[in-house]
Symmetry: C2
Amino acid sequence: MINFKSVTDFRLHGGKYFIPCVSIDCVIFGFHRNQLKVLLLKIANLNGWGLPAGFIYKEEHIDEAAKRILCQRTGLQNIFLQQFYVFGDPGRCDNNITKIAFENEGIKAPTDNWLLQRFLTIGYYALVNYKAVNATTDFFSEDFNWHDIDNFPMLAMDHNEIVDKALLTLRTHLRYQPVGYNLLPEKFTMPELQKLYETILDRKLDRRNFQRKMLSYGILRRLKQRREGVAHKAPYLYSFDLRKYHKALKEGFQSAW
Amino acid sequence: MINFKSVTDFRLHGGKYFIPCVSIDCVIFGFHRNQLKVLLLKIANLNGWGLPAGFIYKEEHIDEAAKRILCQRTGLQNIFLQQFYVFGDPGRCDNNITKIAFENEGIKAPTDNWLLQRFLTIGYYALVNYKAVNATTDFFSEDFNWHDIDNFPMLAMDHNEIVDKALLTLRTHLRYQPVGYNLLPEKFTMPELQKLYETILDRKLDRRNFQRKMLSYGILRRLKQRREGVAHKAPYLYSFDLRKYHKALKEGFQSAW
């Protein structure tokens, strides 16, 4: 990893180290108090919010680059991270952010500067444990915050479109692969799992159908321990059977056909 | 569109017109005589087969580039074409093809030549009408042919991996969106549709379950006309209700949850 002396050094000379014209944007989902949230950064010099993003070193696998960027921004490793789409509209890039940054620093950037080109961006989404995230700012960002998906700010460039597509992808993945590990605590009740699904899908689900379907996937272990401190019948606690969970993640649920 | 004077002109000067380090590879599926097939090109100077591929003009949307490449190779327009994955292993590129080509032409290529860099490739898959394809060779390809998916040759670079991933994606898409238009003739029987699904999934399906599930999606129209020339009971003919088909393609089947 290259340590740039300053953000100006990065802006002027980063092109030597990174693949040109391609960036990575990460949509980092967390779940807290029945709310699906996305981690956003406040972009330095812009007074606006955007997705955690970065670039790919010339010798780096793109998946490794995404993991590195995610780790730099959240402190998390070994995260469920999935490539979901490439955004390649020639009008998607707003080079004004870089131009203004150069002007503010009194630098006349060459027109062939690597950041002043058109960029494609590869979208990755991650499901993370909200409480384990220890986000940090760097010289691209002044602040960070979790934003509820149903009360979302206007983001820089096409980042709203990227979040929408990530959410649509996550909804689609619910149909054929497990979701929940990392988003839920280690032990959870069936109503808590259902609430997660309802939040992602943005609609109510039938309780009995949901339970039957989830159990049919064979990825849950019902624990002997029950949720305590509940007035009437204490609900069962479940955890994911991680071996079966990861198998289903790789192969998809077999029940569809 | 730029008309290069020769393949050498393209190899030496293409970098002025295309986005660096990113290509597009197309996996073109067709269905004929109960066989799923992929259109391959015989790569010039290599004596080997590979996927139809191309590059993105500096001002071109990536989806438009994929459509243009597909049209150049197959003569087809208005095709179901879907981006499915970016392949970004730093070891995936074999620059020897370009190096050998330069050597054969007696040209000493500069080391910063655009084709001698690492390339990411964006995979698109297309479902096309086998009979409507009028493939053409150009200066990258000597020949073209349809290859059965279950008797597939070794391809150049990581193209076998790209085909495998496309097939896996197509299988996944069967779970939540319609497939069949373009692959089947306009009118088809239920057994013909089932055979297409079985070929893609590479396994037998239960006849009654299949019929019930397909009808439940509401994308089929049963025609008054039946298949003629069949000894006993002539089977019903169906066609896709294209309005509902395209709605389901966009939104996914609602039956999953």
